[in-house]
């Protein structure tokens, strides 16, 4: 246990989020129009050039899974890989 009364609080963030019945989620994005996907899945989507907001998630709570992203990526033609 610890404390930080001495901590120089910089820009104070918003106070405790208002109580809302929205599920906090399971490591997925927060509420507020954000896409529900675990961070590595969001990164994968970025690497593959997939726009997450265009997908409907098949995971828990409608979250987007790795498979959703991969499917979307194989549906759209990826950047032409360079040949040796």
């Amino acid at each position: 246990p610890a404390q930080a009364s001495a901590a120089p609080v910089q820009a104070a963030p918003a106070p405790a989020a208002p109580v809302s019945p929205a599920p906090v989620g399971n490591g997925h994005g927060q509420a507020g129009g954000l896409v529900l996907a675990k961070p590595p899945v969001r990164k994968l989507a970025k690497d593959l050039g997939v726009d997450l907001t265009t997908l409907t998630g098949s995971g828990p709570l409608g979250s987007i899974t790795r498979e959703d992203v991969q499917q979307a990526a194989s549906a759209t033609p990826a950047a032409e890989p360079l040949t040796v």
Binding site: P1, Q3, S5, A6, V24, G27, P40, K43, L44
Partner: protein, 462 residues
């Protein structure tokens, strides 16, 4: 910190340790009114008799060892001795600074009423303290744990002691028997050895830290052997006798060990006796409070958190459960806690750290789909600089995520932060492998293990 008579709160919390105070602080943020009842000191076991004092001792121990071995690094120094009074005042200084901070946090939370005194559950939603009754729309049981003993073992606080006594010892004993090779036992063994004590661990299970992955146990045993920490595993203790200068312990089979002190570290029992839990209908099992995965007991609106709930007895599990219950009561519908996702650290020298499943557990659950990789710290530059040995072992599912991370070596406890994200976010080895780690750090060992599992080892053979 007023003490109202017959007051009603959104939540009444029984116990102000890790679980209880975390629940109180989070509930207060969510605008719930809280009565936090504590008979001892706010902060509980962890702050006053657990995590913090042991880790202070372990750091003093590290400094003693580094001084002893400083010539290997070109630093000429002489270790004169351990000044236990000074060690204790360093340790107590850390505790009291953190204690003050915590008191400040709880004290400044407008909707927390701190109640000093011993509470008892006298109704399904009523806790009584010194004749006053605190009614809660919800009640959280958080009364924590105590050091257990075994039949035939009478703790006298002098020669036969628990961690509570060990933490206030005013001298460095010549020799100690540590009964119990779990986390607490090996941590004390490690400290004492560094302080120059002759230490023998006696453990009934076949290996030290038996809850960890078998390879971690083996590595710890190897390191302890090198440090000349004696240990006898696989046979239960039979009896203990007092001798002229200390104690004599007999192990099943007849083997005996003598020492000045016996530390009993055979686990922690739930602190639930005579607190009214059973009388009010709370379902229990061998003293533990049974809950569902949302930490609800069998009585409506009564929750339990921390060491009284079967599972890992760790402070940060208490934090997490406390926060969970506060959010649950506030209607936030938080996600269920994955117990395997809670990181585990043993702060001995070497340290052990893990998260997720052991290889054995993973194989039980997933069979042949389980693949492992063990990256030896011998290939890790920073670990070589620290002159530490050990490994990072990954357990993954074929074509699937990492389901377990196990580490041994100096300072690996700090690597579990990253490992915890990997496990809980169900990352694939290739996803971690893509992010090359800072050189030269020990985190690179985690990186290399993922690189190897992704089929692209950098500083190792596949």
């Amino acid at each position: 910190m007023s003490e109202p008579n017959e007051a009603t709160f959104d939540i009444v919390i029984l116990g102000g340790g890790s679980g209880g105070y975390a629940a109180a602080l989070r509930a207060a943020q969510l605008d719930l009114s809280v009565a936090l009842i504590e008979k001892g000191k706010l902060g509980g076991t962890c702050l006053h008799n657990g995590c913090i004092p042991t880790k202070a001792l372990l750091h003093a121990a590290e400094i003693a060892d580094q001084t002893r071995e400083s010539e290997q690094f070109g630093v000429k120094a002489e270790l004169v001795g351990i000044d236990m009074a000074a060690v204790n005042s360093y340790k107590d200084g850390v505790i009291s600074r953190l204690y003050k901070g915590l008191q400040g946090l709880v004290g400044s939370a407008k909707n927390i009423t701190f109640v000093a005194g011993a509470g008892k559950l006298v109704g399904q939603n009523v806790v009584e303290v010194d004749g006053k009754r605190y009614t809660g729309r919800n009640v959280i049981l958080a009364s924590g744990s105590y050091a257990k003993s075994l039949p035939g073992l009478e703790i006298d606080g002098e020669r036969i002691i628990t961690s509570d006594h060990a933490l206030t010892l005013d001298r460095v004993p010549a020799s100690v028997i540590v009964l119990g090779g779990g986390v607490i036992g090996v941590e004390f063994a490690s400290v004492w050895k560094s302080f120059g004590v002759d230490v023998t661990i006696v453990e009934a299970l076949p290996r030290l830290v038996a809850a960890e992955d078998e390879e971690s146990s083996k590595a710890l045993e190897r390191a302890f052997r090198k440090r000349k920490i004696n240990f006898k595993v696989g046979k239960p203790f039979e009896k203990v006798e007092k001798t002229d200068n200390g104690v004599k312990l007999t192990i099943s089979g007849g083997d005996t060990v003598e020492a000045e002190l016996l530390l009993v570290a055979v686990g922690r029992g739930p602190n639930t006796a005579n607190l009214g839990y059973e009388e009010q209908g709370v379902k229990m099992d061998r003293g533990y409070v049974l809950t569902d995965e949302r930490l609800r007991t069998s009585v409506p609106n009564v929750y339990a958190v921390g060491d009284i709930v079967p599972g890992l007895q760790l402070a940060h599990r208490g934090f997490q459960q406390g926060i969970f219950v506060a959010e649950e009561i506030a209607g936030q519908n938080p996600a269920v806690i994955d117990e395997a996702g809670i990181p585990r650290v043993t702060y001995s020298d070497p340290e052990l750290a893990s998260v997720g499943l052991t290889e054995a557990k993973a194989k039980e659950q997933y069979g042949d789909k389980v693949k492992t990789y063990n990256y030896n710290l011998g290939g890790n530059g920073k670990s070589q600089i620290l002159k530490t040995a050990g490994f990072v072992k990954l357990v993954r599912l074929e074509d699937g995520p990492v389901v377990g991370v196990h580490m041994v070596g100096a300072r690996v406890g700090e690597l579990v932060g990253e490992a915890q994200l990997i496990y809980n976010w169900e990352a694939y080895p290739a996803e971690v492998a893509q992010l090359v780690h800072a050189h030269p750090t020990q985190t690179e060992a985690l990186g290399e293990a993922h690189l190897a599992l992704a089929g692209k080892p950098l500083h190792s053979h596949a």
